[in-house]
């Protein structure tokens, strides 16, 4: 069976044979870093073209169709344009912070890659509090946005950053609470434990309605956390030109852009891991035959399939719902989502204690 784990193992053995352990570790780290950056670039290209194609499809038009077959190389051309464009720094800006902000956005997005399991036995860092790690690091994202907005010395940027700050800090709560629902059911914060607990069915099927509610709140909350429509108040182009990245151009803008898409990928990957079993194939209880058939589909395919399905859902939101006002946005979180997810967490806890899930 073709799997990432074989490649990783063979690489590890090959390196161990020629180098001492410390060197092996360093080389492996370098390889992992390069792989993450490569994945980043790849994801950026794929997700941008996907967004454009999906939006075109939703609006019954063609979308990009000039560069490459069916316009598939469009985002590559865009990247080329952004690379050769001059990166301007406004005169009144806080130069250092202005230039630092996009890199922080990028670093945060890269750090988030660490605990994600892309395939069976294929995980950079399986730490025992993976879920908390993800929520902690993703909460740093907002600092880069605030930094960018403030350092630009532009009122639109500042407004966008403020909105984004309020939004991310508040939606983090219900995202965290819905993640906790799964943690309570699994009894572990480690992502690999959570995946293994779904060997006899994904949580979304095993956990009855409370987990479904948690899933829905999670999706809504992460859509808001990644500043995507209908919650894209941070960059609402009709009101704030482009929000916190109004003043950015060239590669620095591209980094923000890339970080946003990578964040979408990451939250969807987390959602897929927690609720849809990550790389775990579709299993039903102890139907051995059926489960074996499912195991023939490679685990990486399962993972990417689920993740891209969720990404598609989030893109679907963008082209379906109109943008909210800031007060509506905060009302939705504090008056509806947060109480619902708190109550839901209580229900899930009851369910976990009584053993009512499958």
């Amino acid at each position: 069976m073709w799997s990432f784990s074989h490649i990783a193992n063979e690489m590890h053995e090959g390196l161990s044979a020629t180098f001492n352990p410390t060197m092996t570790l360093i080389i492996e780290m370098v390889i992992a870093g390069v792989a993450v950056i490569g994945l980043f670039a790849g994801l950026g290209l794929v997700l941008v073209i996907m967004e454009r194609k999906v939006s075109a499809w939703m609006q019954i038009r063609l979308g990009p169709n000039r560069v490459g077959p069916k316009g598939m190389l469009q985002s590559l051309a865009d990247t080329l344009k952004l690379i050769v464009k001059e990166g301007l720094t406004p005169n009144g800006a806080d130069k250092f912070l202005f230039n630092l902000a996009p890199f922080i956005a990028m670093i945060v997005a890269m750090l988030l890659m660490a605990p994600i399991a892309f395939a069976r036995d294929f995980q950079l860092w399986d730490l025992n509090i993976g879920v908390l790690y993800v929520s902690a690091v993703s909460s740093i994202m907002v600092i880069s946005i605030l930094m960018a907005g403030w350092a630009s010395n532009n009122k639109y940027s500042l407004m966008g950053a403020m909105r984004s700050g309020a939004q991310i800090v508040s939606y983090e709560l219900s995202a965290g609470l819905s993640i906790l629902a799964i943690v309570v059911l699994t009894g572990s914060l480690s992502l690999s434990d959570i995946i293994h607990s779904q060997a006899d069915g994904w949580w979304i099927f095993k956990g009855h309605i409370p987990v479904l509610i948690a899933f829905v709140t999670f999706i809504i909350a992460v859509t808001a956390e990644t500043n995507r429509a209908p919650f894209d108040l941070a960059e609402a182009e009709s009101e704030l030109t482009a929000g916190f990245h109004t003043e950015y151009s060239g590669m620095k803008f591209a980094l923000f852009f890339l970080a946003e898409y990578v964040n979408v990928f990451i939250v969807c990957a987390i959602g897929a891991t927690l609720f849809l079993g990550g790389w775990m194939p579709f299993h039903i209880g102890n139907w051995q035959g059926f489960n074996h058939v499912m195991d023939y589909i490679p685990s990486s395919l399962w993972f990417f399939g689920k993740t891209f399905f969720l990404i598609f859902v989030i893109m679907w939101f963008r082209w379906t719902f109109p943008r909210l006002r800031i007060d509506q946005l905060l009302n939705l979180e504090w008056k509806y989502l947060l109480p619902i997810s708190m109550f839901n967490l209580l229900l899930v806890t009851l369910m976990a204690i009584m053993g009512w899930h499958f």
């Binding site: 908390l132 902690a136 600092i143 907005g149």
Partner: protein
């Protein structure tokens, strides 16, 4: 010097430098950002002590939530160098002397205490892991833990009383 020691010195220097920059930065926004850097290096120390849960919670609570609110307020108020109030030089001197004395007392106390002979449990201690921490919190320390809910409730009631329009 092994990797752990190098990391320890690096993090310590970063923490101290960050803390100094918090105090000396003219721009409040820079101060807050340096404070975030300091929190990160403290989290790094926690990880060195194998207290991963504490490290992560430190980041979530301080760097991710409290400092963001700080940044939020400072940015909205648009504080910068020109709005910094002029302080009396004598006051500054008095503050410096008082702070210096406190530092001196602490250093002296630390030097004379037995702590210097003890070594930190690097990578072996397991009290900072979430399982042990949770067990302690819900057995020995359950009474203070539950009582702190009164504290939070009163803070919440207070926030509503102060914040809501009349």
């Amino acid at each position: 010097m092994n990797v752990t020691q190098i990391l320890f010195w690096f993090l310590s220097v970063l923490a101290l430098f960050g803390a100094l920059m918090v105090v000396t930065s003219k721009n409040p926004v820079h101060s807050v950002l340096w404070l975030i850097a300091t929190f990160f290096s403290i989290s790094g120390h926690y990880i060195l002590l194998n207290a991963q849960f504490l490290a992560i919670v430190n980041i979530i609570v301080y760097a991710g939530a409290i400092m963001v609110l700080f940044l939020f307020v400072i940015m909205l108020m648009n504080l910068n160098k020109t709005t910094e109030p002029k302080k009396n030089r004598w006051l500054k001197l008095a503050g410096g002397v008082a702070g210096g004395c406190l530092l001196l007392v602490f250093i002296a106390a630390l030097k004379s205490s037995e702590i210097t002979q003890q070594t930190a449990e690097v990578k072996t201690g397991d009290i900072g892991l979430i399982k042990n921490l949770g067990r302690e919190l819900f057995s020995t320390y359950v009474v203070p833990f539950e009582i702190s809910s009164i504290l939070f409730l009163s803070a919440m009631v207070g926030a509503v009383v102060i914040g809501k329009k009349e």
